[in-house]
């Protein structure tokens, strides 16, 4: 009930103004309301409702005119104004606009996402904090030597200047000396330098050094700009741009060349060579062969487009210009003309050999022959006169060359075909000059000038076999008369090989045609001239029994060579990996006595091993090198690559240089064996702290800035000089 009263009390306070304004209505309404309220409370509403102001009442003016206060009067002018200007509405408008602007508050992030964000932030922060240490860690890892504790309070030795400045002359003698020194301006106290020395010190001062460094920096910066520019330009994809660039460059080069030709002919020659080289390179490329996409399209376009036609013509001209053969001398031209006059009966090759090119150059000759192949082969007139004795000991190349020359002159005609049938071509070509006897001249069949076909004269293996023997062959050719003729030797060697193994024997025979043991042993020994001769020899000389020596030499155990060859062959056979025979007689066949597994089966169950690596003495006929491995030494060898190394070469290189004091000077020895970490006894080794790191950075900055006087720098750097980084430099001296 008390609440009801209160509500009733409140009510008049609220409704006061209305009451006064429109009394009659008001009172009625009020009464009505009260009635409603009391009724409602009676009906069961526990709590009186707070008084509301209902907007929708008809007493409220639409234009908010009368709302201001009780006694306010509405002015007409206000009513006539537009709404916007009325100041009373301002606050409401503001509110409205605010309401419009503020959007709904977003939902808070989910827990996981929230955590993730926090985590990421934490990570970046921490990594940034730790990244500060990176250079220090790197530096310490790479440091040649680390001395712990890292930060040491450096013992400051009082500079001698200070010590001296406290000193004063006392005795008369000292005073006198002091005076003398003063007179000659000798340094007595601080800074211990004569004026001259001071001047000299100033001559190369810090500023100068700075200037120099700045210059260097500038130069470096310029260089980097230039590089960047070049890179940028290179990246430009526009073809037109590059074309223009190229053209500009070439024209520039031409201009320069003109200039050079006038003033410096030598340099111009060099330039010319360069240009020639460029031409050759362009010639080598297939740019102007009209095979590119552009060329093909332009060919099609050329029918309709004048410009394209011109471009095509240009291109053709360029191609022609490039592919034009360089004419070495005017003589050759004449020759060429003569040849043409001859009616092309004789191929160019015949005369071209000596023209312009080095006749000794086998490449040039080969080229000539290749060219001549395209032309119709003209049969030679077979003269077939007396054959020339070909030296059997001539080396292959020489023989070939000479052979070629002879044929060119049309003097000789060798019948090779019959011989070539027996051996395959390559072998024939190889063995022909030194093995086979010169064939009798055959008058009948005419032979083409070139019997070479598109076949390799020498395979790679042959070249390999030949290489080390070149010396031998040279020797051989030098002393052709001294050595025994080769044929019997080879016959002997071939006869020694078993007749059954045909292929193998052929192979060995082939190799031995390249490598001849006797040729190795037979040699030109220069006989020494000596003023004193042993008595025995003197006697011999006096008795002129020269034949005795000859006989002795002849009978100097000749089987020595054969024995050695046999031994070597045996060593080779032993060294070869053995085939595994898995043949089971009777497997898959009928059994019985006298069982012979079929060859097919035998072949199938014979496991042939891969051929081992080539023998070390492959090319040394007079040497047998054992292939056995030194196992006892291998026990001491490193057989696993130690950790940081990536290849055995690296490791081997790293242990190649000796470290011991026996092979090094004392200083080098100490540096090579310096321990990586030194701990000073009696010191606590703290973990590295930020101050240490900062210290390093600071000193670095100071070094970079170069602001402080040099003396300070030294005293500072002394502290962390332990980190031997600077020592390295001083050591390099």
């Amino acid at each position: 009930m008390a609440a009801e009263k209160e509500a009733v009390k409140n009510e008049p306070a609220l409704s006061d103004p209305e009451e006064e304004e429109e009394e009659d209505d008001e009172v009625a309404a009020k009464k009505h309301q009260q009635l409603v309220e009391t009724l409602s409370t009676l009906a069961g509403g526990k709590r009186p409702r707070a008084a509301e102001r209902t907007e929708a009442s008809r007493y409220i003016s639409e234009y908010d005119v009368g709302g201001g206060g009780a006694n306010e009067k509405v002015l007409l002018s206000e009513l006539l104004k537009p709404v916007s200007t009325s100041s009373a509405l301002g606050s409401i408008r503001k509110q409205l606009s605010k309401v419009r602007q503020t959007k709904a508050v977003q939902l808070p992030l989910s827990k996981e996402e929230n955590e993730r964000v926090v985590r990421e932030a934490a990570y970046t922060q921490t990594s940034q904090a730790l990244a500060k240490w990176d250079p220090i860690v790197r530096q310490n890892r790479n440091a040649e030597q680390l001395v712990f504790p890292l930060q040491q309070d450096c013992v400051t030795v009082a500079p001698i200047e200070e010590v001296i400045s406290n000193w004063k002359p006392r005795t008369p003698l000292e005073e006198e000396i002091f005076n003398l020194l003063h007179k000659t301006q000798q340094p007595v106290k601080d800074p211990l330098l004569t004026p001259h020395e001071k001047a000299s010190l100033k001559a190369m001062s810090l500023e100068e050094a700075q200037l120099r460094r700045m210059e260097l920096q500038r130069a470096r910066a310029l260089q980097s700009y230039y590089e960047a520019k070049a890179r940028r330009e290179r990246k430009i994809k526009s073809k037109k741009f590059h074309k223009l660039l190229r053209k500009g460059k070439s024209s520039k080069v031409l201009q320069e060349f003109e200039m050079l030709r006038k003033c410096n002919p030598e340099a111009a020659l060099e330039q010319l060579e360069k240009m020639e080289r460029a031409r050759i390179e362009e010639r080598m490329s297939l740019k102007h062969q009209n095979k590119g996409r552009w060329a093909k399209s332009t060919v099609i376009m050329a029918k309709y487009d004048l410009e394209a036609r011109q471009a095509m013509q240009e291109q053709l001209a360029r191609n022609k210009e490039l592919t034009q053969k360089a004419q070495p001398t005017s003589d050759s031209e004449e020759d060429g003309k003569d040849l043409e006059a001859d009616g092309g009966l004789v191929p160019d090759v015949i005369n071209e050999g000596h023209v312009g090119v080095d006749p000794d150059n086998p490449w040039m000759l080969g080229k000539a022959s290749a060219e001549s192949k395209e032309e119709p082969r003209v049969p030679e007139d077979s003269v077939g006169d007396g054959m020339e004795e070909e030296e059997p000991t001539m080396s292959n190349e020489e023989a070939l060359l000479q052979d070629f020359a002879e044929r060119r002159q049309g003097l000789r005609c060798l019948q090779v075909t019959s011989e070539a049938q027996g051996l395959d071509g390559e072998e024939a070509a190889l063995m022909l000059p030194d093995v086979l006897p010169p064939a009798p001249p055959s008058p009948g069949p005419e032979e083409p000038l070139l019997r070479e076909k598109l076949e390799r004269l020498r395979t790679l293996e042959d070249m390999e076999a030949l290489e080390p023997e070149e010396v031998v062959q040279r020797e051989q050719s030098v002393q052709s008369e001294g050595a025994e003729p080769l044929q019997p030797v080879q016959a002997e060697l071939l006869s020694q090989a078993d007749g059954g193994r045909t292929a193998a024997a052929k192979k060995t025979g082939k190799r031995q045609s390249l490598i001849d043991l006797k040729a190795v042993l037979a040699d030109t020994s220069t006989s020494m001239q000596c003023p004193l001769v042993p008595r025995v020899v003197q006697d011999e000389l006096e008795s002129t029994t020269d034949q005795r020596q000859v006989i002795r030499e002849a009978f100097a155990s000749d089987n020595v060579v054969a024995d050695f060859v046999k031994e070597k062959r045996r060593a080779e056979q032993d060294g070869k990996p053995k085939a595994v025979d898995l043949v089971l007689p009777g497997w898959g066949e009928w059994g019985g006595t006298g069982l012979q597994p079929s060859t097919k089966k035998r072949r199938r169950f014979l496991i042939k091993p891969a051929p081992g690596p080539p023998r070390k003495d492959q090319h040394l006929p007079h040497v047998i090198i054992s292939e056995q491995r030194n196992i006892s030494a291998a026990a001491h060898q490193v057989n696993q690559l130690p950790f940081p190394f990536e290849s055995s070469q690296q490791f081997e290189r790293s242990i190649q240089a000796p470290v011991g004091s026996t092979w090094n000077t004392q200083r080098a020895f100490q540096r090579l064996t310096a321990p990586q970490v030194i701990t000073l006894p009696g010191h606590i080794i703290q973990p590295i702290s930020a101050e240490d790191a900062n210290l390093i950075r600071q000193t670095d900055q100071e070094k970079a800035a170069g602001q402080k006087p040099a003396l300070d720098l030294i005293s500072l750097s002394k502290c962390h000089d332990r980190r031997r980084a600077s020592k390295k430099k001083s050591w390099k001296r």
Binding site: N142, L193, T194, M204, P468, V520, L521, S525, T526, S527, M528, Q529, C530, L532, V533, P534, V536, E553, A556, S557, D558, V560, D563, F564, H622, V623, I624, S626, N630, S632, A633, A634, H636, Q637, N639, Q640, L641, E646, S648, Q650, E652, R653, S654, I655, Q656, A657, T662, W663, N664, T665, Q666, A668, Q670, R671, L672, A710, D721, K727, K732, R733
Partner: protein, 626 residues
């Protein structure tokens, strides 16, 4: 007459006051080649720097800024380049011109030779090991790259330092030079002895020992002591500089060969039946009955091995430090009367009657190398100090020079009556004894001249021939005694006092002995390539890999099986994945086939474009063919 002799003024010093002068200073500078030849190519003696003591303690005096840096690097390099063009004999040069921006000294004077002395690159090359690898960017690990670079830099600096220290080698070698039109081989020993100073002249002497004839001889490694052994049992050991006799005994048996062991306190004598070891008093220390019928002996100083060759064809190795027989090898080469050692790798060379020379190590039971050198029997062998040249002489009166690196013959000489004994001196002179004529050849491995460098006739045929180390002396034993000949330029002029000191005292010798024993190289390490120890054993590496594969059942280093990458939606159907897989598989198969074909040598050349069909068989579609 004798031009080159003027240069040889070192001997008197060493002889008279050697002990007093040389002994106190511990840092003797050694010859580059006399040191530990088994370890590596070039060698360098012990070298200390005279100044720079402060640096050795490891603590540096902080450099004052006014002291001036001694070198600024680029300048240094420039001078280097300039210098390398000149032929530089002594190796060390002093930069002549002062650098333009050179700093003044405190005293105001300008240093005329700023910076350290310039060393030519060729000279440094002598002290470098191996060749620098060319491709640098191959190391992917940054830290390793840095480490390797640092190592390279250190090694280079060490080589430079070593080259710089060559300045301290005081003596220079010289050779005999004849006047114009005069051959050096016509100069007699008497002339040489007259021309040289008194002390050097005293080294030419003769011992007439007609009674116990033909003599063999052996010098100690420092060249101070001489051991003589007559065939008929006479054994004498003496300090040949002072001619003080250590001992003289008669073993009352045939003496076939004899050799000093590691010091002058012990020597081995091969007698009629067995091998005996005596001390320098002539007291028999031991009799090795397992070594019988020994014909020739060689002592391998760094392994403490005594290699003996017997008449029954056995090559035996005795470790003299422990008295154990290390290896016994039956050479199957008949009587072994010719033997020498390769001082660079301790390989023993044997000459045989069938004209072959065999190379042996105690670890392998077969010859490492067998070379056919002569048509007739091999009479003498010698290997030079660097181990790269071998001289052989045979019954065919020829003298061959072989290059042991390639086993090719370099030169061949025909001597009047083949050489029976050969020996290389430290500086590469070759001594050859042809019966009673002793000839010495110069530059024989490079370009032999027509005439010998020196020639000398003995009273009777020579039986032993040895150059004395560190002396220009050639000792020859013959049937009527011993003769010591002067051969200018034979010995290495500078010796390494820590290695082999001719003037060492007893104490020093003892100390050296202990050190040498500590540094003894085990006999297992004797192989043709002395650098074998420094290489990774790739064969066992491979073997280990295979074993690991067998153990694990798979190859952990093998390339993984191909699994196709996941593609974007729509292209990752099972079918397309299979297709991709098959493509790769086919590619692998193709590669394998190609490889096998290539092995068989049946690689077919690319087919020529198909020719146009003959007109008669043209099909309808051929009209589209161009």
């Amino acid at each position: 007459m004798v031009g080159g002799l003027g240069e040889k003024k070192k001997r008197p010093q060493r002889y008279w006051e050697g002990e007093e002068v040389r002994k106190p200073e511990p840092e003797q500078v050694g010859p580059p080649d006399s040191k530990k030849p088994y370890q590596d190519g070039g060698h360098l003696g012990k070298k200390l720097e005279p100044g720079r003591r402060d640096q050795i303690s490891g603590k540096k005096r902080p450099q004052q800024y006014w002291e001036g840096e001694e070198v600024s690097k680029p300048e240094h390099k420039q001078v280097d380049l300039l210098d390398s063009k000149k032929p530089c004999q002594p190796g060390v040069h002093v930069g002549k011109k002062s650098k333009p921006g050179g700093r003044d000294q405190i005293s105001g004077k300008v240093d005329p030779f700023p910076g350290p002395a310039v060393i030519s690159d060729e000279w440094v090359q002598k002290f470098r090991r191996g060749t620098k690898p060319k491709e640098k960017g191959k190391v992917s690990n940054k830290q390793l790259r840095h480490k390797l670079a640092l190592q390279e830099e250190k090694a280079e600096a060490a080589a430079k330092q070593a080259a710089r220290m060559d300045l301290l080698l005081l003596e220079e070698p010289g050779f005999l030079e004849g006047d114009e039109g005069e051959d050096t081989c016509t100069i007699t020993q008497a002339d040489i002895a007259d021309a040289v100073d008194l002390a050097a002249g005293a080294k030419r002497f003769e011992l007439r020992l007609a009674q116990f004839g033909p003599y063999r001889l052996s010098y100690t490694r420092n060249g101070r002591h001489l051991l003589l052994g007559g065939r008929r049992g006479h054994v004498a050991a003496l300090d040949w500089h002072t001619k003080a006799l250590l001992c003289e005994i008669n073993v009352m048996e045939t003496v076939t060969d004899l050799a000093w062991l590691h010091t002058e306190t012990m020597f081995a004598v091969a007698q009629r039946k067995w091998l005996y070891v005596y001390d320098n008093q002539g007291v028999e220390l031991s009799c090795l009955k397992r070594f019988h019928g020994v014909q020739r002996m060689e002592f391998l100083p760094y392994h403490f091995l005594l290699a003996t060759a017997s008449e029954t064809g056995f090559l035996q190795y005795l470790d003299v430090s422990v008295g154990k027989e290390v290896a016994t090898i039956c050479t199957k080469g008949g009587r072994l009367g010719v033997m020498t050692q390769n001082p660079s790798n301790a390989i023993v060379h044997l000459g045989h009657s069938n004209g072959t020379v065999t190379l042996w190590s105690p670890n392998v039971k077969e010859p490492l190398v067998r070379m056919l050198c002569h048509r007739g029997a091999v009479r003498a062998l010698a290997v030079d100090g660097s181990g790269s040249y071998m001289a052989t002489s045979g019954l065919d009166r020829k003298l061959h020079i072989y290059d042991l690196r390639t086993y090719q013959r370099l030169h061949s000489l025909l001597l009047p009556i083949g050489a029976g004994h050969l020996d290389f001196s430290q500086r590469g002179l070759l001594g050859a004894a042809c019966q009673e004529v002793v000839q010495v050849y110069k530059d024989i491995s490079v370009c032999p001249s027509k005439k010998p460098y020196l020639c000398h006739a003995l009273p009777r045929a020579a039986q032993g021939l040895r150059f004395c180390p560190f002396e220009d002396v050639l000792g020859v034993g013959h049937e009527e005694g011993f003769e010591s000949l002067l051969v200018p330029g034979a010995g290495e002029p500078n010796f390494d006092a820590l290695e082999s000191n001719p003037f060492r005292s007893r104490k020093q010798r003892q100390e050296w002995e202990v050190k040498a024993l500590l540094e003894k190289i085990p006999s297992e390490l004797i192989s043709l390539d002395p650098g074998q120890l420094g290489t990774v054993d790739t064969i066992s590496l491979e073997q280990q890999r295979q074993e690991r594969v067998a153990r694990l059942g798979y190859d952990p280093e093998a390339k993984g099986k191909f699994s196709p990458r996941r593609r974007m939606k729509g292209r990752d159907s099972a079918g397309s994945r299979l297709k991709r897989k098959q493509k790769v598989a086919a590619e692998e198969q193709r590669a394998a086939i190609r490889k096998s074909l290539a092995e068989k040598g049946q690689v077919q050349e690319p087919e020529s474009p198909p020719e146009a069909f003959p007109a008669s068989r043209r099909s309808a579609l051929d009209r589209f063919r161009k």
